[in-house]
Structure formats: C-alpha cells, structure tokens
C-alpha cells in the first residue's frame, strides 16, 4: 500500500512536465492579477463618471461577473464561442475569462474603499483648479489603492488558487500535471498532498509580499 518508490520515480520522471505546469500556473496568475487590476481600475474610474448610462453599464458589469461562476464563464467562452466562429486557445480563454471576473471584484473593492473616503478632499481639489482626471490620479486613486491593499492581495491569492480551474478547459497548468501524475500510479493522496503543499507555499510568498507592500505604503492615521 506504500508505493513510495513508484511515486518517487514517476514524480522524477514527470517533474519536467510538472515544473512546466507550475510555470504556466504562475504565468496565468501573474497575468490575470495584473490585467485584472488594471481593468479593475479602469472600471472603477468609469463608475465615477457623471454619465448615468455609463454608470448603469458599469454596475451591470460588476454584478454580472461577480454573480457568474467562473467555470460557467470559462466554458461559455471556450466551448460556446466556437459556435459563433470565435475559437480561442485555452490560454487566451483563461486570460480573457479570468480578467473579466477578477476586474469586477477589484473594481468592487476599490469602490467600497472610495465610499469611505473623506470627499471634502475631492471638493478641495476641484476648488484648487484640478481637472477630474487629475483628481482621480493624484487624490482618489492613491488613497483608494492604499486602503485596498489587503483586499487586492487576497484577490491575488484567490487568482492563484482559482487558476487550477483552468485545467477544465485543457490548459495544462500545475494541477493538470498533478492529476496526470496521480493517474499514472494511483497514489492520489501523495499527489494531491504535494499539490496542496506547493499551493500553500506559493500563497505564503504572496502573503509575505503583501505585508511588505502594506508596510511600505503605511501613512500615519490613514486607515479606513
């Protein structure tokens, strides 16, 4: 029942594939974290518009993507869109689908931080002669980003964990390779324990990085 020997040799044999999978996991996580952040900022900016139609559209966007299970979104794009002649690679689908989803969450975090700000500051900036764009860049965004560091880094952790779902659309990331390993020698417990340890280690790295960022950005008396 032990099977350490076969597990070891299979692990060794498949380690290049597993490492490639791990690289793909990290790649996907990094890309969607960045694109999700940038798109989230754009959506948040648009949500501050005075244009009612645009604001309604943004609210609908956020509700829609927060309400929709990620896997449904990915399947819709991966299996559904080809019926309309749009065929994307698993990687493209993952980046596209995750970004839409992650951006909605990030925009929601930024919005709730914004609601807690002292809005007299924006009025003061307007009275000084700053344009709405300058106010966003110089006052609103720096404050909102600071206040959102914990939520945004939690989202990065979520991105790492959720990226494992991408194996369901044939994106051969880390978890997909671990499943192959498990299937070769039926040592499910060992294979998935290995996966758990790797994910935990990566999450720890993100948590430590987040603490450092938070420390660097700390401003006396500036909390929500």
């Amino acid at each position: 029942m032990n099977g350490w020997a076969t597990f070891h040799s299979d692990l060794l044999e498949q380690s290049p594939l597993i490492l490639m999978g791990l690289t793909k996991t990290l790649q996907l996580t990094a890309i969607i974290s960045l694109s999700g952040l940038l798109l989230g900022i754009v959506i948040f900016y648009a949500s501050l518009s005075r244009n009612n139609t645009l604001r309604c559209f943004i609210n609908a966007y956020i509700s829609f993507f927060i309400g929709m299970p990620l896997i449904v979104l990915l399947f819709l794009i991966y299996f559904g869109l080809p019926q309309w002649g749009i065929k994307l690679s698993p990687f493209q689908v993952a980046v596209f689908g995750f970004s839409l989803n992650v951006a909605a969450y990030n925009a929601a975090y930024l919005t709730s931080a914004y609601n807690g700000l002292d809005h007299a500051q924006m009025e003061a900036a307007r009275a000084q002669g700053f344009s709405p764009r300058q106010i966003f860049k110089l006052i609103t965004l720096p404050q909102v980003m600071r206040l959102s560091v914990p939520a945004l880094t939690n989202q990065v952790i979520g991105n790492l964990k959720d990226s494992s779902v991408a194996f369901l659309i044939q994106y051969t990331e880390f978890f997909a390779r671990i499943q192959e390993l498990a299937a070769t020698n039926f040592q499910f417990f060992k294979a998935y324990l290995l996966a758990a340890i790797v994910y935990l280690a990566l999450v720890s790295v993100i948590v430590i990085a987040a603490r450092l960022i938070e420390k660097r950005l700390v401003i006396p008396g500036f909390t929500s």
């Binding site: 002292d118 007299a120 500051q121 009025e123 003061a124 900036a125 307007r126 009275a127 000084q128 002669g129 700053f130 344009s131 300058q134 110089l138 006052i139 720096p142 404050q143 600071r146 401003i219 006396p220 008396g221 500036f222």
Partner: protein, 244 residues
C-alpha cells in the same frame, strides 16, 4: 473698481430659490465677512463665485471679466481663488508639505525644488513650517486649518474664500485662526469669509454683510446690527450670545 462685483446673483436648486438677487462688492485688501443663519445660502454664494456651482442668473465680474460667460476658463479662475473649508479638507495621503506643493507642481508646473521653497515659505508664514513632514492626522484642528490656509495662499490667489473656517474648532483654536486672518489682512491679503460664528466675525471684522432670504439685507458693524437695526430679526441674530 471692485475685485469682485456680484450683481443680482440668483441661484436655484430646482424650484428652491437660494440666492435671489445678491449684490456684493469685494475690494482689494478687504476682509469681508458674510453672515447668515444656517441654510441661508452662504456656502452656495461662495461656490457660485468660483463656479463650483453654476449660478442661475445675474452677473459676477472678477478682475473686470464676466466669469459667467460661456468661454471662461473655469479651472484658471479657481486657481486664482483660494478656498478654505470648514472641514479643512487636507489631502490625507500627503504630508503637510506635499499638501501645499501639489497644486504648485501639478497646476503651476513649478519644478519640485521651487515648489518646496514656496511651500515652506507659506508654511513659515502660518507658523507651520516645523510640521512640514507630518501627516494631517497628526495635527490639531487649528494646525490643520493653518495648513489649509497655507495651501490656498501658496497659489498667490487674488482672493481667499473661507467657508465657516472655525466651526469645527474650539474657542482657543478659533482665536488662533482669527489672529492669523487678521495678520494676513494687515499684509494686504483679500479675503471673503462666510460664517454664522459671531465670535469669529467679531474677532476679524468691524463690518459684516447679512445674508437673509436670498439677498443682502444689511451691511454694518455687528454692534449697530445688534442694537440699532430696524428689523427685529436682525437684532436678534446679532444680539444672541456667541454660543461657544
């Protein structure tokens, strides 16, 4: 010629008439105080004068230019009018120094070193230079308000507006801000202050303008208004005990 001439200024919010033909002149070097009860439209008046609020009718002439014209550069207008708020409204993520340099660098486009020198000089003028590295949350109310005044003065405005600058302050800090305003007055800074704080008004000005029901109802010394004015409501407003 007056620096600011307000003629028959009207401001409505929907059907609600807030300002109903205000006439007011502010001359260079004035420290003009406008008083009125809560909701009388004092803030609205100031906000119309720098177009934070769109006036409904009338005329505002600033340095000889009609600033209600369609082609007025509103942002340039605002840069030449300092604004000090009741709640200080300091930028909370910036140090005291950065609060003052921000507009100098981003609007006046001064190089960083020049902006810093200018900001430090203004902070010095308000006795706040030694706090330049602190953040707003580390200051007392009176200190915050002095930083806000320094931030306004740094832009070399033609006039500084004060909207209830002391109503968030205790009497001691009110005195501190009033003294500062008096000193700036001596230095020739043009100021327009709206408040319902009789104590502040008494400390900074001999004469006040009384805004009531959308119009300027009187302009006289507080003493005259409290004792000799024909209208009993005006006597009551100015005769009340300064309530703090």
């Amino acid at each position: 010629m007056a620096l600011i001439e307000v003629r028959d200024l009207v401001k409505k919010f929907g059907d609600q008439v807030i300002l109903n033909g205000v006439n007011l002149d502010i001359y260079e070097g004035d420290l003009k105080v406008v008083m009125g009860s809560s909701g009388s439209g004092k803030s609205t008046l100031l906000r119309c004068l720098n177009r934070l609020e769109e006036p409904t009718g009338g005329k505002i002439v600033f340095r000889g230019e009609n600033i209600m014209a369609a082609d007025v550069d509103v942002r340039a207008l605002r840069q030449s009018i300092g604004f000090v708020f009741q709640q200080f409204a300091l930028y909370r993520h910036l140090s005291v120094l950065e609060n003052v340099t921000l507009a100098l660098r981003k609007l006046k486009k001064l190089p960083a070193a020049e902006a810093k020198d200018k900001a430090l000089a203004e902070l010095e003028r308000l006795n706040m230079a030694s706090h330049a590295g602190k953040y707003p949350s580390q200051l007392s109310g009176g200190q915050k308000q002095r930083v806000a005044i320094a931030r306004a003065l740094a832009m070399d405005p033609a006039v500084v507006f004060f909207d209830e600058p002391t109503s968030a302050l205790d009497p001691l800090m009110t005195r501190e801000v009033a003294d500062m305003m008096n000193r700036l007055h001596d230095e020739g800074v043009t100021m327009l202050c709206v408040t319902h704080d009789l104590k502040l008004a008494g400390q900074i000005s001999d004469k006040v303008v009384f805004l009531d029901k959308g119009v300027v109802r009187a302009e006289a010394s507080i003493e005259t208004l409290s004792q000799d004015h024909a209208d009993e409501r005006i006597r009551a407003f100015f005769g009340r005990e300064a309530d703090y």
